[in-house]
Protein backbone atom coordinates (compact mmCIF):
# COMPACT_ATOMS: atom_id res chain seq x y z
CA UNK A 1 0.00 0.00 0.00
CA UNK A 2 1.55 3.37 -0.96
CA UNK A 3 1.51 6.33 1.42
CA UNK A 4 -1.08 8.00 -0.85
CA UNK A 5 -3.54 5.20 -0.10
CA UNK A 6 -2.60 4.70 3.55
CA UNK A 7 -5.10 5.68 6.20
CA UNK A 8 -4.35 8.36 8.79
CA UNK A 9 -3.87 5.56 11.33
CA UNK A 10 -1.32 3.69 9.25
CA UNK A 11 0.64 6.88 8.58
CA UNK A 12 0.78 7.42 12.35
CA UNK A 13 2.06 3.86 12.77
CA UNK A 14 4.81 4.48 10.20
CA UNK A 15 5.89 7.54 12.10
CA UNK A 16 5.87 5.73 15.44
CA UNK A 17 7.91 2.90 13.99
CA UNK A 18 10.46 5.33 12.59
CA UNK A 19 10.80 7.60 15.60
CA UNK A 20 10.09 5.54 18.69
CA UNK A 21 10.60 1.84 18.06
CA UNK A 22 13.81 -0.07 18.62
CA UNK A 23 15.79 -1.34 15.62
CA UNK A 24 14.18 -4.44 14.08
CA UNK A 25 16.94 -6.84 15.17
CA UNK A 26 16.13 -6.25 18.85
CA UNK A 27 12.61 -7.57 18.33
CA UNK A 28 13.90 -10.60 16.46
CA UNK A 29 16.42 -11.42 19.21
CA UNK A 30 13.92 -10.95 22.04
CA UNK A 31 11.39 -13.08 20.16
CA UNK A 32 13.93 -15.91 20.08
CA UNK A 33 14.22 -15.80 23.84
CA UNK A 34 10.45 -15.78 24.20
CA UNK A 35 10.20 -18.89 22.04
CA UNK A 36 12.89 -20.49 24.18
CA UNK A 37 10.89 -19.84 27.36
CA UNK A 38 7.73 -21.24 25.75
CA UNK A 39 9.58 -24.38 24.72
CA UNK A 40 11.39 -25.04 27.98
CA UNK A 41 8.92 -23.74 30.57
CA UNK A 42 8.74 -27.14 32.23
CA UNK A 43 12.46 -27.03 33.01
CA UNK A 44 14.43 -24.98 35.47
CA UNK A 45 15.83 -22.18 33.33
CA UNK A 46 18.12 -19.41 34.51
CA UNK A 47 17.86 -15.82 33.35
CA UNK A 48 21.43 -15.93 32.00
CA UNK A 49 20.49 -18.79 29.73
CA UNK A 50 17.36 -17.00 28.49
CA UNK A 51 19.36 -13.82 27.85
CA UNK A 52 21.97 -15.77 25.92
CA UNK A 53 19.33 -16.96 23.45
CA UNK A 54 18.77 -13.27 22.63
CA UNK A 55 22.54 -12.70 22.39
CA UNK A 56 22.44 -10.12 25.18
CA UNK A 57 23.85 -9.70 28.64
CA UNK A 58 21.41 -10.40 31.47
CA UNK A 59 20.98 -6.73 32.39
CA UNK A 60 20.65 -5.44 28.84
CA UNK A 61 18.22 -8.27 28.03
CA UNK A 62 15.98 -7.57 31.01
CA UNK A 63 15.80 -3.91 30.07
CA UNK A 64 15.02 -4.58 26.39
CA UNK A 65 12.47 -7.32 27.16
CA UNK A 66 10.60 -5.00 29.49
CA UNK A 67 10.64 -2.23 26.91
CA UNK A 68 9.25 -4.55 24.23
CA UNK A 69 6.65 -6.54 26.20
CA UNK A 70 5.95 -4.27 29.17
CA UNK A 71 6.93 -6.83 31.84
CA UNK A 72 10.11 -8.51 33.04
CA UNK A 73 11.21 -11.84 31.51
CA UNK A 74 10.82 -13.42 34.95
CA UNK A 75 7.19 -12.27 35.17
CA UNK A 76 6.57 -13.36 31.59
CA UNK A 77 7.87 -16.86 32.35
CA UNK A 78 5.76 -17.02 35.48
CA UNK A 79 2.61 -16.00 33.54
CA UNK A 80 3.45 -18.59 30.91
CA UNK A 81 3.75 -21.28 33.57
CA UNK A 82 0.53 -20.24 35.29
CA UNK A 83 -1.40 -20.30 32.01
CA UNK A 84 -0.03 -23.73 31.20
CA UNK A 85 -0.88 -24.81 34.75
CA UNK A 86 -4.49 -23.66 34.31
CA UNK A 87 -4.74 -25.61 31.07
CA UNK A 88 -3.36 -28.81 32.64
CA UNK A 89 -5.60 -28.50 35.71
CA UNK A 90 -8.62 -28.19 33.44
CA UNK A 91 -7.50 -31.38 31.71
CA UNK A 92 -7.68 -33.12 35.09
CA UNK A 93 -3.98 -33.71 35.84
CA UNK A 94 -3.06 -34.00 39.52
CA UNK A 95 -1.76 -30.85 41.21
CA UNK A 96 1.62 -32.47 41.84
CA UNK A 97 1.94 -33.46 38.19
CA UNK A 98 1.00 -29.95 37.07
CA UNK A 99 3.51 -28.46 39.51
CA UNK A 100 6.38 -30.42 37.91
CA UNK A 101 5.10 -29.97 34.36
CA UNK A 102 5.29 -26.19 34.66
CA UNK A 103 8.82 -26.08 36.01
CA UNK A 104 8.33 -25.94 39.80
CA UNK A 105 10.12 -28.40 42.04
CA UNK A 106 8.24 -27.43 45.22
CA UNK A 107 4.50 -27.94 45.61
CA UNK A 108 3.99 -25.17 48.24
CA UNK A 109 5.87 -22.66 46.03
CA UNK A 110 3.71 -23.59 43.04
CA UNK A 111 0.49 -23.40 45.08
CA UNK A 112 1.42 -19.96 46.45
CA UNK A 113 2.36 -18.64 43.00
CA UNK A 114 -0.85 -20.05 41.50
CA UNK A 115 -3.04 -18.48 44.16
CA UNK A 116 -1.30 -15.15 43.79
CA UNK A 117 -1.76 -15.24 40.01
CA UNK A 118 -5.36 -16.46 39.80
CA UNK A 119 -6.94 -15.79 43.18
CA UNK A 120 -7.61 -19.53 43.64
CA UNK A 121 -5.61 -22.45 44.93
CA UNK A 122 -4.90 -25.09 42.24
CA UNK A 123 -7.46 -27.39 43.90
CA UNK A 124 -10.18 -24.72 43.96
CA UNK A 125 -9.39 -23.77 40.36
CA UNK A 126 -9.64 -27.39 39.21
CA UNK A 127 -12.89 -27.91 41.08
CA UNK A 128 -14.50 -24.76 39.63
CA UNK A 129 -13.45 -25.60 36.12
CA UNK A 130 -14.61 -29.19 36.33
CA UNK A 131 -18.09 -28.19 37.46
CA UNK A 132 -18.19 -25.25 35.06
CA UNK A 133 -16.39 -26.41 31.92
CA UNK A 134 -15.43 -23.94 29.20
Amino acid sequence: MTSATKTYFEIQLDQLLKEHYLPEYYYVQVRQSKAFMERYLSEKIELEKIASTAFMSRFHYTRIFKKVYGLSPRQYLKDLRMNKGKELLKQGLTITQVCFDVGYDSLPTFCNAFKKATGFSPGEYQHRNKSNPE
Binding site: M1, K6, T7, F9, E10, L13, L17, Y27, R31
Partner: protein
Protein backbone atom coordinates in the same frame (compact mmCIF):
# COMPACT_ATOMS: atom_id res chain seq x y z
CA UNK B 1 -10.46 -9.41 42.33
CA UNK B 2 -12.01 -7.04 39.77
CA UNK B 3 -12.13 -8.21 36.15
CA UNK B 4 -13.50 -7.18 32.78
CA UNK B 5 -16.84 -8.85 32.20
CA UNK B 6 -18.18 -7.12 29.11
CA UNK B 7 -16.86 -4.75 26.49
CA UNK B 8 -18.67 -3.43 23.44
CA UNK B 9 -18.59 -2.38 19.81
CA UNK B 10 -21.26 -0.06 18.44
CA UNK B 11 -23.03 -1.56 15.42
CA UNK B 12 -25.44 -0.07 12.93
CA UNK B 13 -27.58 -3.23 12.79
CA UNK B 14 -27.53 -5.91 15.48
CA UNK B 15 -28.74 -8.80 13.30
CA UNK B 16 -26.18 -8.04 10.60
CA UNK B 17 -23.49 -7.68 13.26
CA UNK B 18 -24.37 -11.03 14.84
CA UNK B 19 -24.02 -12.70 11.44
CA UNK B 20 -20.64 -11.05 10.82
CA UNK B 21 -19.18 -11.64 14.27
CA UNK B 22 -20.28 -15.30 14.37
CA UNK B 23 -20.19 -16.49 10.76
CA UNK B 24 -17.11 -14.54 9.65
CA UNK B 25 -15.02 -13.78 12.74
CA UNK B 26 -15.93 -17.01 14.54
CA UNK B 27 -17.41 -15.79 17.84
CA UNK B 28 -20.31 -17.65 19.49
CA UNK B 29 -23.58 -16.01 20.58
CA UNK B 30 -23.88 -15.97 24.37
CA UNK B 31 -26.91 -13.86 25.32
CA UNK B 32 -29.81 -12.35 23.42
CA UNK B 33 -32.28 -10.50 25.63
CA UNK B 34 -34.98 -8.38 23.98
CA UNK B 35 -34.94 -4.77 25.22
CA UNK B 36 -37.65 -2.88 23.35
CA UNK B 37 -36.48 -1.84 19.91
CA UNK B 38 -33.03 -3.37 20.52
CA UNK B 39 -31.56 -6.29 22.47
CA UNK B 40 -28.76 -7.13 24.88
CA UNK B 41 -26.71 -9.17 22.44
CA UNK B 42 -23.31 -10.60 23.34
CA UNK B 43 -20.81 -12.95 21.76
CA UNK B 44 -17.80 -14.77 23.21
CA UNK B 45 -14.68 -16.48 21.99
CA UNK B 46 -15.18 -20.25 21.46
CA UNK B 47 -12.12 -20.87 23.64
CA UNK B 48 -13.32 -18.65 26.49
CA UNK B 49 -17.04 -19.10 26.70
CA UNK B 50 -17.05 -18.00 30.33
CA UNK B 51 -14.69 -15.14 29.55
CA UNK B 52 -15.20 -11.53 28.51
CA UNK B 53 -18.39 -10.92 26.52
CA UNK B 54 -18.47 -8.60 23.54
CA UNK B 55 -21.66 -6.57 23.46
CA UNK B 56 -22.92 -5.75 19.96
CA UNK B 57 -24.33 -2.44 21.02
CA UNK B 58 -26.94 -0.68 18.87
CA UNK B 59 -25.71 2.65 17.54
CA UNK B 60 -28.65 4.78 18.54
CA UNK B 61 -27.02 7.93 19.87
CA UNK B 62 -26.22 10.56 17.22
CA UNK B 63 -23.01 12.03 18.75
CA UNK B 64 -21.62 8.50 19.04
CA UNK B 65 -22.39 7.96 15.38
CA UNK B 66 -20.26 11.01 14.51
CA UNK B 67 -17.41 9.65 16.64
CA UNK B 68 -17.67 6.19 15.10
CA UNK B 69 -17.59 7.61 11.57
CA UNK B 70 -14.58 9.81 12.33
CA UNK B 71 -12.64 6.77 13.59
CA UNK B 72 -13.70 4.72 10.59
CA UNK B 73 -12.67 7.41 8.08
CA UNK B 74 -9.26 7.80 9.73
CA UNK B 75 -8.65 4.04 9.65
CA UNK B 76 -8.48 3.94 13.46
CA UNK B 77 -9.59 0.62 14.97
CA UNK B 78 -12.51 0.75 17.37
CA UNK B 79 -11.19 -2.27 19.21
CA UNK B 80 -8.72 -5.08 18.88
CA UNK B 81 -8.91 -8.90 18.98
CA UNK B 82 -6.09 -11.36 19.52
CA UNK B 83 -5.51 -14.19 17.05
CA UNK B 84 -2.84 -16.88 16.85
CA UNK B 85 -1.81 -16.09 13.29
CA UNK B 86 -2.73 -12.80 11.63
CA UNK B 87 -1.59 -13.85 8.15
CA UNK B 88 -3.76 -16.99 8.24
CA UNK B 89 -6.78 -15.08 9.54
CA UNK B 90 -6.28 -12.45 6.87
CA UNK B 91 -6.27 -15.12 4.19
CA UNK B 92 -9.29 -16.91 5.64
CA UNK B 93 -11.34 -13.74 6.08
CA UNK B 94 -10.39 -12.32 2.68
CA UNK B 95 -11.68 -15.60 1.24
CA UNK B 96 -14.98 -14.94 3.02
CA UNK B 97 -15.24 -11.51 1.42
CA UNK B 98 -14.06 -9.42 4.39
CA UNK B 99 -12.17 -6.28 3.40
CA UNK B 100 -9.03 -4.99 5.09
CA UNK B 101 -7.92 -1.36 5.31
CA UNK B 102 -4.48 -2.46 6.49
CA UNK B 103 -2.74 -5.63 5.34
CA UNK B 104 -0.80 -7.69 7.92
CA UNK B 105 2.33 -5.86 9.06
CA UNK B 106 4.82 -6.17 11.88
CA UNK B 107 4.96 -3.46 14.48
CA UNK B 108 7.64 -4.26 17.04
CA UNK B 109 6.44 -7.16 19.19
CA UNK B 110 3.18 -7.68 17.29
CA UNK B 111 1.83 -8.39 13.84
CA UNK B 112 -1.44 -6.69 13.02
CA UNK B 113 -4.05 -6.06 10.35
CA UNK B 114 -7.23 -3.99 10.24
CA UNK B 115 -10.54 -5.17 8.84
CA UNK B 116 -13.92 -3.61 8.15
CA UNK B 117 -16.65 -5.23 10.28
CA UNK B 118 -19.32 -3.98 7.84
CA UNK B 119 -21.21 -2.48 10.82
CA UNK B 120 -19.35 0.83 10.96
CA UNK B 121 -16.05 -0.13 12.60
CA UNK B 122 -12.44 -0.88 11.86
CA UNK B 123 -11.32 -3.88 13.89
CA UNK B 124 -7.68 -4.63 14.57
CA UNK B 125 -6.43 -8.21 14.65
CA UNK B 126 -3.27 -8.67 16.68
CA UNK B 127 -0.81 -11.53 17.00
CA UNK B 128 1.90 -11.43 19.64
CA UNK B 129 5.20 -12.32 18.04
Amino acid sequence: MIKIHVTSVPVDNQDKALKFYTEKLGFIKKTEVPMGEYKWLTVVSPNEQNGVELLLEPMAFEPARVYQKALKDAGIPYTSFMVADVAKEHERLTGLGVTFSMEPREMGPVKMAILDDSCGNNIQLVQML
